[in-house]
C-alpha cells in the first residue's frame, strides 16, 4: 500500500522530468550562437536544464501528489502516522546534492578556464565606454577608430576595455560572454566570433539615464571583407585634409567624442539640447538670464559645461573633462600629421552647418 504511492510518484517524476526538459529547451531559447565560446557554454546550459527539470519535477510531483492523495476527510479528527524523520534519508539527500554540486563546480571551472585562456595570435581591440556610447580602436591597424565593432570571423579577439566615467558592461548576447567595463582599470574579454552577421553590443550595467539605449553595432565579416574594411579606413584622408566642418562631424559621432549620445542634430531632445538651429538661438538659462548662442558661449559650454545651465536641463550630466581629452587628441594629431587643429573650432564650425 505505502510502496504503491512511492512507486507511482517516482514514475510520474521520471515522466514529468523528461517532458519538462523538452518544454524548457523549447521555451527558454538562447540567441543564435555566433562565437566559439557559445558551444561549451550552451552545453553547460543544457546540463543545467536537465537538473532543473529533474529537481523541479521531483519536489512538485511529490508535493502535488501528497496534496491530492493524502487528504484529510472533513470528519476525520485523527492525526497522521507519527514519523519523526529518517537519518538515512537525510544523509542521502545531503550527500547526493553535495556530489552533484561538486561535479557542476568542476565542470563549470573547466569551461571557464577554457573560454578565458589566452589564444595565440589574438587580435586586440580597445573598447572605450562612456555615457552613453561605445567606440573601438584597433592598435594592430594603426589605431583605426570606429563607432562600430568590426571583426573578422574565426579570429580570436582580445578586448581591452576602459570607461571614461561610470561602470558599463560589454555584452553581445550571440557571443554569450559578458564583462563589465570599469573606470580606473582595464578589463579583458576574450572570444572568437564564428558566424558572419550583424549583432549589437548591449550595455548590461545600469549607467544612468540612457542605459537602455547604450548600444553599438557589431559586424562580423569574412577575412577578405575585413581586410577591405581596414584598407578603406586607412585610405581615409588625414585629419589635416578634411575641412573643419567634416572634422567636427567626426568629433560629434561616437567614433570621436560621443556628443551624439546626448545631442541630436534633427531636433529631438535626448539628454541635452538639440544642436539643430543652435547657433544664434536665444536661450534661457536656469538662473533666469537669457543669452544668444555665439562662439564664445559655445566654447564655454563645451569646455566648462557647468558654467551656464540651459533651463530645463540638468547640470553635472555633460562630461566636464573635454578640455583635457581634446588636448590629448590634438597632440596625437600634431605628432602624426604635423598640423595643429582646434577641436572646439571644428565643433563650432559643424554646429554652424546645422542652421539651414
Amino acid at each position: 500500500m505505502k510502496k504503491k504511492h512511492l512507486l507511482f510518484a517516482t514514475g510520474l517524476t521520471i515522466i514529468t522530468s523528461i517532458l519538462l526538459y523538452f518544454l524548457l529547451t523549447a521555451i527558454y531559447r538562447l540567441p543564435t550562437s555566433a562565437s566559439a565560446e557559445a558551444g561549451p557554454i550552451d552545453q553547460l546550459f543544457h546540463i543545467h536544464f536537465g537538473f532543473i527539470a529533474f529537481f523541479f519535477s521531483l519536489i512538485m510531483v511529490f508535493v502535488v501528489y501528497a496534496a491530492l492523495v493524502f487528504r484529510r476527510r472533513p470528519d476525520d479528527e485523527t492525526d497522521g502516522p507519527h514519523i519523526h524523520g529518517h537519518t538515512g534519508l537525510e544523509i542521502t539527500w545531503t550527500v547526493i546534492p553535495v556530489i552533484i554540486v561538486l561535479g557542476l563546480g568542476v565542470y563549470g571551472t573547466n569551461v571557464l578556464v577554457d573560454i578565458t585562456a589566452p589564444q595565440p595570435n589574438e587580435m586586440v581591440v580597445k573598447v572605450h565606454a562612456r555615457q552613453w556610447s561605445w567606440s573601438f580602436e584597433y592598435p594592430d591597424y594603426e589605431n583605426i577608430s570606429s563607432a562600430e565593432l568590426i571583426l573578422p570571423a574565426n579570429q580570436p579577439i582580445r578586448l581591452e576595455m576602459d570607461s571614461e566615467d561610470v561602470i558599463h558592461s560589454f555584452w553581445v548576447p550571440e557571443f554569450r560572454v559578458k564583462q563589465d567595463v570599469v573606470p580606473g582599470r582595464t578589463t579583458i574579454l576574450r572570444f572568437t566570433p564564428t558566424q558572419a552577421g550583424d549583432y549589437k553590443v548591449r550595455c548590461a550595467e545600469i549607467c544612468g539615464k540612457q542605459h537602455a539605449n547604450m548600444l553599438a553595432p557589431v559586424k562580423v565579416l569574412s577575412d577578405q571583407e575585413f581586410t577591405a574594411w581596414v584598407d578603406e579606413r586607412l585610405a581615409q584622408p588625414l585629419f589635416a585634409e578634411l575641412t573643419p566642418e567634416e572634422r567636427g562631424e567626426i568629433w560629434y559621432s561616437a567614433e570621436g567624442f560621443g556628443c551624439a549620445a546626448c545631442h541630436s542634430v534633427d531636433g529631438t531632445q535626448i539628454v541635452g539640447p538639440t544642436w539643430l538651429g543652435l547657433f544664434g538661438r536665444e536661450e534661457q538659462m536656469d538662473d533666469g538670464s537669457t543669452i544668444v548662442v555665439d562662439e564664445t558661449y559655445l566654447r564655454e559650454s563645451i569646455l566648462n559645461p557647468n558654467a551656464k545651465i540651459v533651463s530645463g536641463f540638468n547640470a553635472n550630466i555633460m562630461p566636464p573633462n573635454y578640455e583635457q581629452r581634446f588636448a590629448e587628441k590634438q597632440a596625437e594629431i600634431l605628432a602624426a600629421e604635423g598640423v595643429e587643429i582646434d577641436i572646439v573650432e571644428d565643433l563650432i564650425a559643424y554646429i554652424k552647418t546645422l542652421n539651414e
Binding site: 505505502k2 521555451i27 527558454y28 531559447r29 538562447l30 540567441p31 561549451p40 557554454i41 553547460l44 546550459f45 543545467h48 537538473f51 529537481f55 523541479f56 519536489i59 512538485m60 511529490f62 508535493v63 501528497a66 496534496a67 493524502f70 487528504r71 484529510r72 476525520d76 485523527t78 492525526d79 497522521g80 502516522p81 507519527h82 514519523i83 524523520g85 545531503t94 553535495v98 554540486v101 557542476l104 565542470y107 563549470g108 569551461v111 571557464l112 578556464v113 561610470v166 561602470i167 548576447p173 554569450r176 559578458k178 564583462q179 563589465d180 570599469v182 573606470p183 582599470r185 578589463t187 549589437k200 545600469i206 544612468g208 539615464k209 542605459h211 537602455a212 540638468n314 553635472n316 550630466i317
Partner: protein, 617 residues
Amino acid sequence: MKALWYFLTSSFTRGLIGQAIFTAIGMTFVNAIRSVMGLEANAEPGVVFGALLGVFGFLLGAGVLTDWIKWIFGKETPLRHGPPQGKPEWTRYLNVDYNHKVIGIQYGYTSLLVLLVGGLFALIFRIELAQPGMTLLTNDQYNTLFSAHGIVMITAMLLGVGAMVNYLVPLMIGAADMAFPRLNAFSYWVGIPAVVLILAGMVVGGWDTGWVGYAPLTFRAPLGVQLFLLGFYVNGFSSIAGSINLIVTVATMRAKGMTLFRMPIFVWAAIAAAIIQMTATQTVGVALLMNVTERAIGLSFFNPANGGDPLLYQHLFWFYSHPVVYLFILPGLGVISELLPVFSRKPLFGYKWIALSSLGIALVGFLVWAHHMFVAGLDNSLRIPFMISTLFVAVPTGVKFFSWVGTIWEGKISLETPMLFVLGAISVFLIGGVTGPILGTIPTDMHLHDTYWVVGHFHATMFGGFIFPFFAAIYYWYPKITGRMYKESLGKLHFWLMVPGFWVMSLGQMATGIMGMRRRIADYDPALGVQNIHVLITLAAFVIGWSVLIMVYNLVSSARSQELADPNPWRSRSPEWQIPSPVPEFNYDVPFEVVGDPYDYGLSGVAYIRMAPASGD
C-alpha cells in the same frame, strides 16, 4: 472628528512634524556655516546633514527617545502597559507602545502599506514595458521608479520580518515581552523616517542607480540619490537594534524546559536571520555612508578619478546585501516548516536537520557575495572559489525541500488558505531554487548576468521565500491576532489568482532574459522578440496586484465581523494557541513548562507544554 484629533496628535504625526523641523534646522545650520566660509550656500552637504538631523527630529517628536532622555536626568520611567487610557484602542497602533504584540502589528500594517506602494511603482513601469518605445514615462521617471521599487520592497520585507518575529517569538518561547521593550519600539519607529527619506528622494529629482547605488554612478545621479542612500542607511539602525533584542530575548527568556531543540522551528529561523542582521548590516552601513560623503563633501573612496576603487563599494555592499536575502527567506521558510505539520497532522520531518540547515544557510550566505561580481573584473583565481561556495547553498536548501516532502507524505492534509499559501510558497521558492545554480556557474552567468533571468530568479526566491509565507502567516495567525476569522472564500480566491499570476510573471521574466533582455532598461529592442512575453508579464503583475488588494479587503472587513473565532481553529500544539485570542496583555497568565516535543502529532497523550499551577515555582 475626534478620530482626526487622535490622528493629528499621534506619535506618527508628531514624528513627521519633528522630522520637517529638524531637517530645516540642519539645512540652515550647514548653509549658514557655508556662507560664512564663502561657499555656495544652497548645496548638497546641507541637505545631507538636514536629512540626518531630521531622523533624530522624528524620533524626538514621536516620543521614542523620551524615556531614555528621562534616564539621563535620573527620572523614573515606569513601563506603562495596557491600552491607552481614555482613548480608543486603535490609537495604540499610531503611538509609541512597548508591548511586543502592538509593535508586531505596527510592523505588520506598515509592511503591507509599504508593499502596496512598492507594488504600485512596479505596475506603473510594467505598463511602460508592455510595449517597446517610451509610451508613458520618461527615462528619468522609469529609472526612479524601478530603483525605488527595489529599495521600497526591501524595506517592506524588513518590516514584514519585524512583524513576524516581534509578534510570534515571545509568544512561542513563553516570554511576556521582548528583552528590551523601548529598544523594540525604537527599531520600529526609526524605520518610518527612513521610508520618508526614500520617498522624498523620488520627489527631489529621483535617481537612476537601482537599489544597489553603485559608485561612481551615484556621483553623477540627481540629488534624490542622497536621500535614497541615507534612507537605506537609517534602515540599518532598525535591523541592528531589532536583531540584538531578538537574540537576547531567545537566549534568556525561554520557558522552563525549552531546550534549543525543543523550540518551535520558527524561532530557529528567527535566530539565524537575526545573526545575519546583527553581523552584516554594519558593512552596508559603512559602504552607504562612504558613498554619501564622497558625493557630498568629496572624501575619496570609490571614484578612480580621486584614487578610489569602484569595486571596493561592490565588495562592501554585497557582503551585506547577499546575506540579506537569507534574512528574508529564513523566517519565511520557518513559517513553512511551522505550518506544514499542523495542516498535515504529522511531526516535522527531520526537525534537527531543518533547524541546523537554517544556520547552515546563514553561514554559507556569508561566503558567496562575490557571485554578484562574477563579471565585474575579478580574476579567475578569485571567482572560482566563489562559484563553488555559491553552488553549495543548494545543499542546505535542498535538505529543507526534502524534509518538507517527508512531512506531508502520508499525512492527513487539509487545504485551508494558510496551507494553500504554504504549498504555493514551496512551488514558487522551488522555481527560485532550481534557477539559481545556472547563475552560480560562471560560464552560464556570463550570459545571464544582469538580465531578466536574474530578475525572474530573485523574484521567485523573494516571493516563495518571503511574500507567500508571510501571507500564509497573516492568514494563519489572523484569528490569534484579532479573535475573528478571515473569509475563507476570499482567501482561496487570493491564492488562485496570485499563484498562477506569479508563475507566469517569473517564468516569463526568465524567458526574456535568456533571449537577451537586459535588466534595468527603460526600453527594449523589438528585434529581441520579447514583446509578447512582456505583455504577459504585465498582465500577470496586475493579477498579483489585484489579488493582494483582495487580501487587504479580507483582513479589514473580517476584523469587523461579530463572529468570534475558535481559540485554536487549526488544532495546533504550539503554546500561543493554548491561550485566548486576542492574546492578553502579558501573554500567559501563568508560565508554562515544556514537557515534550513541539510537533508530536500522531502520538496521543503527549503534550508539548503544561501550564504551571498558578502558585508554581
